[in-house]
Every structure is written in structure tokens, then in C-alpha cells.
Symmetry: C2
Subunit: 409 residues, 2 copies
């Protein structure tokens, strides 16, 4: 029995939906018992001749002074030496503790990825392929297309729960009902590019629709913008917690999130993949995902992981986040006031960084016209809209953004 087939048998016995949804690559992959696994076993040996990194012989880093002098107060080892495969164990445990409060204990130990994109790509490798459908929000983040489609050869289908007039779960329900083979469904709230967060009734409707799907599903919650909810009465956490209560014969929830936006560490590239299952199934999926991480980036950036661990250990974390949320909420409110005053009606929005404004005529032409006037926006030509981000603009400047926009719409 090969390492992969042993894992596949365990998964079939412990999580029918996950098993049914594995791609050919997902079936073939496993974490190899090679150099890194053997080095892990040798950790703490009196004489450790396994390691492919320079140390002083006592665990201390030996770095270039021209690099070391720019490190802060953390020991150079935490920047210069390899982080563990799959992520620093303490960081994985800390992130799990953060998630367990909402999702309950039956979740896997989160794996650390090099940013959220890498988390999504890992899930795509495991579950998407030429025999798979991937159901994406429409309009949605453009990068999903390369991640799931071009790279993995999956058939991409779209569903549009949001439009200029509000939220409607019916298109998702219809898209799910029409499925005929194992499928990856991507949910993304707070959403990019629309900036929408559902209310609890809408969230329940999404989960109910998922529960009724006629095929096994992997449901990915892309929670990049988690916590960025600027209006009351909206779902505060991820839909992942609700999805974890569904039948494992039908649904595997996978949470993809990270420090990128949630901890305002855009350049850090620390993401996480967490499977909504425990026991054997979690162990198998972690092993397979570790195999994919090993074969795409090997370990992740050590210093970035160390900084995230420091942030999570800081008792003032929630207050510090709230300070930055207050800045963002202030920009959101300033932009909303200006848009209202100008009579510009975006698609419904209440979270993340974004406002999605419908456009008469060619969105790309409008983008270029605005660019000429010193205003940068993102065009979504297919949806006939432009996306404004208020994350990098002072509140005082937002009325001017709206007035330039109003003149050109």
C-alpha cells in the first residue's frame, strides 16, 4: 500500500464528502517521509547532521551582519532559520484557538500558507481538477479564475447572490441544484469587490442552500476581510462555523483566512487553511496539504510568522485592531455620505474596503478617463461596474473622489 492510498482509505472511512471531492492530485499527494520529516524526528539530537542550514551548533543563527542589524528585538533565529513545515507550531495552535471559539473543537490544526492566495491555491490543488466544477461568486475576485481554472483545469461556474438591488440566495440555490459532480463552492464575505456582509437570515439561507446540494461539496470560506463589518445587524464571524455543523457525508467546509487583512499585515504573507473536521479526516487532509506546501513553497517566511505570533499573544490585540477598524469605518461613512449626497447608488455595501459602482457604458473606458484625471479605480468590465477602495484614502479626500466620479459617470 502506497502512502497516498493509505491516506485515501482513511479519508474514505472518516469523511465521505472530502473523499469524494479529492482531485487526482489530491489523491496522489502525501507528505513525504524525506529530508524534512527525518529532520523533524532528529530535533533535539545531541549531534544533528540532518539540517541544511547554517547554525552555530547550538541552535543559534549565523547570519550576514548586513541583514541582522535591521532586525528588531526578536532573536535573529526567528527571522533567519527555517520555520517548521506547515507553519510554526505555536502559531498554528494560536490560530486554532482563535477559530475554535466560534467553530467548535472539531476543526483541523490550521496550516500556515504564504498568504491567502496560497491557501486558496492549496485547496484548489486538493479538490479542483478537470473533473470538478468550481462555483464562484459573480462578480468575484478575478484571481479565482487562474487559481481554480487555468492552473487546475476545473470548469468554472458562477453564481450571483448580489446585485444592484440587494441580496438574493435563489441564484446560488439554482446553481447548486444543477450540479452533477463533486464541486468546490467559494463563499466570500465580507466580499471583494462588492464590500457586502450578509445578515443572519441571509447567512442561514446560504447554509441551508449548501445543505441541500445534490452532490458532495467542498465549501471554501474565503474570509480575507473577516471582522471588517461597518454596520450593525450583520454577521460578525465567518460562515465556516455554521457550515461545520453540516453532514460530513455531504459537505467539507474549509476556512481560508490570514493575517493579510485581518491583522493589517499585507506584506507578511501569512495565511491559514483550516479544515472543518476533526480526527482521522483532519489528519489525512493536513498530511496531504503539507505535501502540497512542501512542493510549492516548502516552509513559509519565518519572521512574518514570528510577528503574527507576537500580535496574537498581545493582550491589547483587540483594542489595537479596533483603532484601525475605526479609521476604516470612518472612511466608509465619509464615502457613503458623499455618494448619497451625489445621488450615486453602489451595489449594497457594508464591509471590507470596497464600494462597487454600476456604470453606464464601458467601465474600462471610464477607468482610463478617471486615471487621466488623477483618480485610480479598478474596472470590472464584465459586470459593468468599477470598484472603489477606501482603504488607502484619507476621509477628507473622499468627497473629491466622489465629485470627480460624479462628473464622469
Amino acid at each position: 500500500m502506497t502512502p497516498a492510498s493509505a491516506l485515501n482509505d482513511r479519508l474514505a472511512a472518516s469523511h465521505p464528502a472530502a473523499s469524494a471531492c479529492l482531485s487526482a492530485l489530491g489523491r496522489a499527494i502525501f507528505y513525504p517521509k524525506g529530508i524534512t520529516a527525518q529532520a523533524e524526528q532528529a530535533r533535539g539530537s545531541r549531534i544533528n547532521a540532518t539540517l541544511g542550514q547554517l547554525t552555530d551548533g547550538a541552535g543559534g543563527a549565523m547570519g550576514l551582519p548586513g541583514m541582522v542589524r535591521h532586525l528588531g528585538d526578536l532573536p535573529p533565529e526567528r527571522a533567519l532559520l527555517y520555520a517548521a513545515q506547515g507553519g510554526i507550531p505555536d502559531l498554528r495552535a494560536a490560530w486554532k484557538a482563535r477559530l475554535s471559539a466560534a467553530a467548535g473543537p472539531a476543526i483541523s490544526l490550521p496550516l500556515v500558507t504564504t498568504g491567502i492566495t496560497h491557501g486558496l491555491a492549496t485547496v484548489a490543488d486538493l479538490f479542483a481538477g478537470p473533473d470538478t466544477d468550481v462555483l464562484l461568486p459573480e462578480p468575484g475576485w478575478g484571481n479565482y479564475k487562474h487559481i481554480f481554472g487555468t492552473r487546475r483545469g476545473a470548469r468554472l461556474l458562477g453564481y450571483g447572490c448580489l446585485g444592484p438591488s440587494g441580496f438574493d440566495v435563489a441564484p446560488l440555490r439554482r446553481a447548486l441544484a444543477a450540479l452533477t459532480r463533486p464541486t468546490v463552492l467559494v463563499l466570500n464575505y465580507p466580499s471583494n469587490p462588492i464590500g457586502y456582509v450578509p445578515d443572519p437570515v441571509e447567512a442561514d439561507a446560504i447554509v441551508a442552500a449548501v445543505a441541500e446540494a445534490p452532490v458532495p461539496l467542498v465549501v471554501v470560506t474565503d474570509d480575507a476581510y473577516q471582522g471588517m463589518v461597518w454596520e450593525p445587524g450583520r454577521v460578525q464571524g465567518s460562515l465556516f462555523a455554521r457550515l461545520c455543523r453540516l453532514d460530513p457525508a455531504r459537505v467539507l467546509p474549509v476556512k481560508v483566512d490570514g493575517a493579510t487583512k485581518e491583522l493589517f499585515f499585507f506584506g507578511g504573507r501569512v495565511g491559514f487553511v483550516t479544515f472543518g473536521c476533526g480526527g482521522s479526516a483532519a489528519e489525512v487532509l493536513e498530511d496531504k496539504a503539507m505535501g502540497l506546501l512542501r512542493a510549492t513553497t516548502s516552509s513559509g517566511p519565518a519572521f512574518s510568522q514570528a510577528l503574527v505570533l507576537e500580535a496574537l499573544a498581545n493582550p491589547a490585540l483587540d483594542e489595537e485592531r479596533e483603532v484601525l477598524h475605526t479609521v476604516l469605518r470612518g472612511r466608509y461613512q465619509a464615502l457613503r455620505a458623499s455618494l448619497d449626497q451625489a445621488g450615486i447608488t453602489p451595489w449594497p455595501y457594508n464591509g471590507a474596503f470596497f464600494v462597487f459602482v454600476p456604470v453606464k457604458g464601458d467601465a474600462e473606458a471610464l477607468r482610463l478617463r478617471l486615471l487621466d484625471q488623477g483618480v485610480g479605480v479598478i474596472a470590472f468590465a464584465d459586470a459593468g461596474a468599477i470598484r472603489l477602495s477606501y482603504a488607502s484614502i484619507k476621509a477628507e479626500l473622499l468627497p473629491e473622489l466622489v465629485s470627480v466620479l460624479a462628473r464622469n459617470l
Copy 2:
């Protein structure tokens, strides 16, 4: 004409070998003109509403104090904000300057990857697939198997230029002569796990063998251990420079290297991919590789890239590296002296971190026996050998390593 087919046409016209070697994914991929490309165009706009990251509105980062206080003297922007897609432009230029000295000007602008593994994975995505053969050094780094085989479905073939009795180019020549379809050839000197660096005559023989291959080749130089050459009379630089002089109708050289070992920044995860061509071909391959980077990790770790840039800008870099090389060379010499004294004859070795010791009987059983005695080594069961790394062991302790080994061999 789709973006991909326009690129493919340009590549066919400018670099026949690269064009012939593209995988199906390599043919399909392109850098999308989506959010990141549009944001790049808006750089410097008076009002920039493209960015999905929080700033103070004037390019300044707004981070969590619990994270920022652990940064050193570099501005927080260089750690907290996104690095450019494909890598920080100044870093790419600095790495290119470093390579051009040896390889000449007709090389692409290096792309920054998240470590060397990610560089190899990107090359695998571009050029390896079910219709491709991949010719790997044997014994070689185990991770190649997942990177090129499991992930990409390529057929893996091996060649063994090194054995207990020395270097012989004939197996490589035979393996190349037997090829019948576009192939990726991986060269790895200084080598892992053997620790071997060829002399100039051997290097010329390798390049001559490549030049005579009957099929178009992508030749990847995995230069992770570049500069770690502990004996005189050995090739100092990469074979990439020699390969760049071959006919582009037959060979595309690709250099994969990084700060990981070369700048002793193991935890940084800064690698580079550089194509051995200029002009149109370089532009096309950069665009396609950027598309793959965008779809696997998006941008790379910003602070790591900033540190590498600082190291490269430091006029004392060469001296600082030499200090660490001296430590490694000292360990190499101490280990060699002990092995000679004990009458243990590894495969020929003169570089990197490694010694490859043939074993009578089961290498894995020996590894476990040594582990019980407090000594960690890596077993290569197929090759009937163990790999010792001297990179993390004080020179004083190396005689003890050898004496434990001698008792157990």
C-alpha cells in the same frame, strides 16, 4: 486573439526551444490585466482607490503596534505593505546585476519567488506536464519528485553522473540521447545530497552533452548552494552562464537560485527565477511566470525582500559571506579529516553542506540506530547511503559524529 495566444505567438517567433517546451498550463497562463495590473497603472495617482491595503493615505503603513514594535530600523512600510507582484523592482535589478557579470546581458529580469522551491515549482508549472519528461539527478533532492512528478504529472527519468568512484558524464549523455519529446533537465551543483562541484572539464562535458540533445530542452540550474565550493580547481559559478551561449532553437536555460543558502537567509523565503534569454522571449516568459506567481502566492514576503536588498547593497557583503564560508569550510575540513582517519569513504565531495556515505545494508535501519544514539542523519534508502550535513555542527563535535558512525556502519 486571447492574451495567452498572443504571448505564445511571440515566444514561438523569438525562442523556439522555450516555445516547444511549454506545458499545457504554460501555454494557457498569462499575467491578468486585473486588480494588480490596474493598481500598478494607478501608482502615483492623486486619489488612488485601487488599493486593497490600509494606509494613512500618503503611502504610510498603519499597522498593529504589537507587530510594529518588533520591526527594526527599516520603515514599517517595507514590512507591512504589499511588495510588488513579481518582486521589489530594485531587488530584481540588483539580482540581475549580480548574475549579468557571469552570464552576460541576455538574461531576463529575475522574478522573486517565495524560496527556491517556489522557483522550481514555477518552472515545473511552465514546462512540465503529462506530455513532458523530466530528467533528474540521481540521487537527488527528494522534493523534485513531488514538484515535477506528483504535482505536474510529468514522467520522471533519472541520470547519475556521480557515484562512489567519481564523476562520469556518460549516463547524462545516454539519457539525453534517448529522449523523444520536450524535456526539462535539472542540473544541481554544488549538489544536494552529494556535496559535489564539477571541475571545468566536467562542466564543459555537461554543457556539450546538453548541446547534442535530440529534443528541445529546458535546462534548470538549481543553484541553491552557489558559492559553497571548498576545494580549489572547481567551477565557482553556475553552469547557467555556459548554457546561455547555446542555441535558443534547442535549449532554454533557467536559473533558479536564492538568498536561502547563498545569503544564509533560510527563513526568509526569497528565491529567484531567471530565464537565459533576452528581448521578446524574456518578456513573454516573465509575463507567464508572473501569472503563475499571482495564482500561487500573489506577492512575496515584503520584509524578507527588503532585507535581501539591504544585504546586496552592503559593500561588505563579500567579506561577510566569506566569514561564514570560512566557518563552513572549517567544518568541511574537520569532517574530511575525521572520515579519512576512520577509513570511511563518502562519494566524492567538495562543496555545499553535505557528505554522502554509502552503507552496507539498510540505510533507514542505520538512520534509526544512529537516532537512538543521539545522532541525526538523513537516509537515502534507494541509493543505499546516508547524508550527513555539517552545516549545523561545531567542528569540535564532528570527530564524535564520525566515531559513532564508524561503530555503526
